[in-house]
Amino acid sequence: MAKKLMKGSEAIGEAAVQAGCKLFFGYPITPQNEIPEYMSHRLPQVGGMFVQAESEVAASNMIYGAAGSGERVFTSSSSPGISLMQEAISYIAGSELPVVLVNIMRAGPGLGGILPSQADYFQATKGGGHGDYRLLVLAPWSVQEAADLVQDAFDLADYYRNPVMILGDGLIGQMMEPVEFKEGRVPCKPLEPKKWAATGCKGDRPTNIINSLYLDPKELEDHNQKLVAKYETMQRDEVRFAEYGATEKYDLLIVAYGTVARVCVTAIEDMREEGINAAMIRPVSLYPFPYAKVREAAQKAKAVLVTELSTGQMIEDVRLAVEGKRPIHFYGRQGGMLISPEEITAKAKAILSKKEARNG
């Protein structure tokens, strides 16, 4: 297929269709309304079903039901709506169902604002709802990457029987860029028939029960351990990142994800013209986080700078990765304010001056 200029939200919707998803349940919330709007007219064209739920609470339970029947399903929302879905996401993880969730983050807390943010990093990567569970979290930095990751997300969700979240900021949803959907795409994971699905108990087959209730504590502990083993496999096999200039010598390592990382690339190029060597690691999988890569890359720098559209959330994972071996600095904006390349360059210069180099 030829490249097409698409809005991020629409590309996400089309990517789901290309991945064979025929079911969408969602509730309107800015700034991601173009996703349900796109699905509402696109899904009937491919024999699918769009349902506008009465709330995010209902939408998240609808995807729980649909996923339990073995069909590919997804929903999208933005920060406050994702908060409302957390109970169901915990059930989905506990029941080991494959669903794809898209969070086009807006600024918080509370009703916050409708402009871009990265303030839901903790919620996405550290659990979010109740109980011990993890989402597999992927963060695109372009519309093309959003389209690619959405398609991979369905394969990963099916393979691991685990919810996968696409964590994008408002820019990803709203900007337009060229996108290509390649024909004959091969799933990124081997996929097996969903024999566990509740599709009707025919003949002598034991009943399939979609459930996360274990009243026997030992059974529940065993179930938790089974989930842990799955997360450990993800940590081993699903780490994704991109690096920029990280093979050369550099003074400063920048760690950023999503659209913020694009701004950082501009800043790195600007700094190079001024004789400042900086490199960047961009985590693409936020869970599992690329700890080993960040640790290794940090060793080659004098200091590390983490930039986020938050008050500092991913920085905690960077600290875990670096283990105190290098000073770690932070530059963030909040409330829907964006970061400019000039701000990053100014911060980098300040860090590399003697004054800030030793202080985290």
């Binding site: 079911l23 349940f25 079903m49 349902v51 739920a53 009465e54 709330s55 609470v57 209902a58 939408a59 339970n61 609808m62 995807i63 729980y64 039901g65 649909a66 996923a67 339990g68 029947s69 073995g70 069909e71 399903v73 109970e87 169901a88 059930y91 029941s95 509740a198 599709t199 009707g200 108990c201 025919k202 003949g203 009943t207 399939n208 029960i209 979609i210 459930n211 996360s212 209730l213």
Partner: protein
């Protein structure tokens, strides 16, 4: 050769339930299982279990099941049915689950006209959590969170779910039945059968509210529970069919003149 005239329905699992003595959940389970068998749909039926006394319903039927979070069974049922319209989907919910925390989900599920069947068991109390006031607890009825009886000036009046849902314009089958006598149970089964048949015909949303006993949390002996239900619940929760899809009832009347 002897002819079998009574046996356990195939759709009902051969296990002991955890229900208390005198509770009529078991009767209602059996009626649902009999209907599923008689309609020949066991192999394509999916149940949705609630949170509440019937949380373990998935152990008591021999159909595939989903366990839903508290109140969300109609949303889960919607997801299953929209994904697989060929399946027969029923939710089994108590009054705390459906009429309190899940009121939003049941109203919108009914209003969308989801082709599912809801078995709504109303025993006027929270059973599993130990006898707290439910939205269906009767005026003056004692519960652990209204220890001098439900005060309607503070808690409002009990919600009549069947009447409420029957005000929706979307076609539906809504009925209230009871199982406190054998004859009542026969009638209840007929309502459940009609509800499933409407779904199988892809006609409409269907809900059967079934009045049920809870001697443990009502604080009365099992043998007296059915009499208590008849004396106290039936006057407030009249039995009957409240809505059928064939009839466009409650149509708005023109204003003025």
């Amino acid at each position: 050769m002897a002819e079998t005239v009574f046996c356990r329905p195939e759709a009902l699992a051969n296990v002991h339930t955890h229900y208390c003595p005198g509770c009529t959940h078991g009767v209602i389970h059996r009626l649902v299982a009999e209907v599923v068998d008689e309609l020949g749909v066991r192999e394509r039926t999916i149940g949705i279990a609630p949170v509440g006394c019937s949380v373990l319903a998935y152990n008591y039927f021999t159909t595939d099941f989903h366990e839903a979070s508290h109140g969300r069974a109609p949303a889960v049922a919607t997801g299953v049915k929209r994904a697989r319209p060929d399946l027969v989907v029923f939710s089994y919910q108590g009054d705390g689950d459906l009429a309190s925390i899940g009121m939003g989900e049941i109203v919108h599920c009914a209003n969308r006209g989801e082709k599912i069947t809801v078995i709504f068991v109303n025993n006027a109390i929270y059973g599993m959590t130990g006898g707290q006031m439910a939205p269906t607890t009767l005026p003056g009825q004692v519960a652990t969170t209204c220890q001098t009886g439900r005060d309607v000036s503070l808690a409002g009046y009990p919600i009549r779910v069947s009447e409420l849902l029957s005000t929706l314009r979307t076609p539906a089958f809504v009925a209230r039945a009871s199982v406190h006598t054998p004859l009542m149970a026969v009638n209840a089964k007929e309502m459940i059968r009609r509800a499933f048949k409407y779904q199988i015909a892809n006609a409409c949303f269907s809900l059967v509210e079934v009045l049920s006993t809870c001697p443990t949390n009502w604080g009365i002996p099992p043998a007296e529970a059915t009499a208590w239900l008849e004396a106290n619940m039936i006057p407030y929760y009249p039995l009957g069919i409240f809505k059928v899809p064939e009839k466009e009832d409650r149509a708005p009347k023109p204003m003025g003149k």
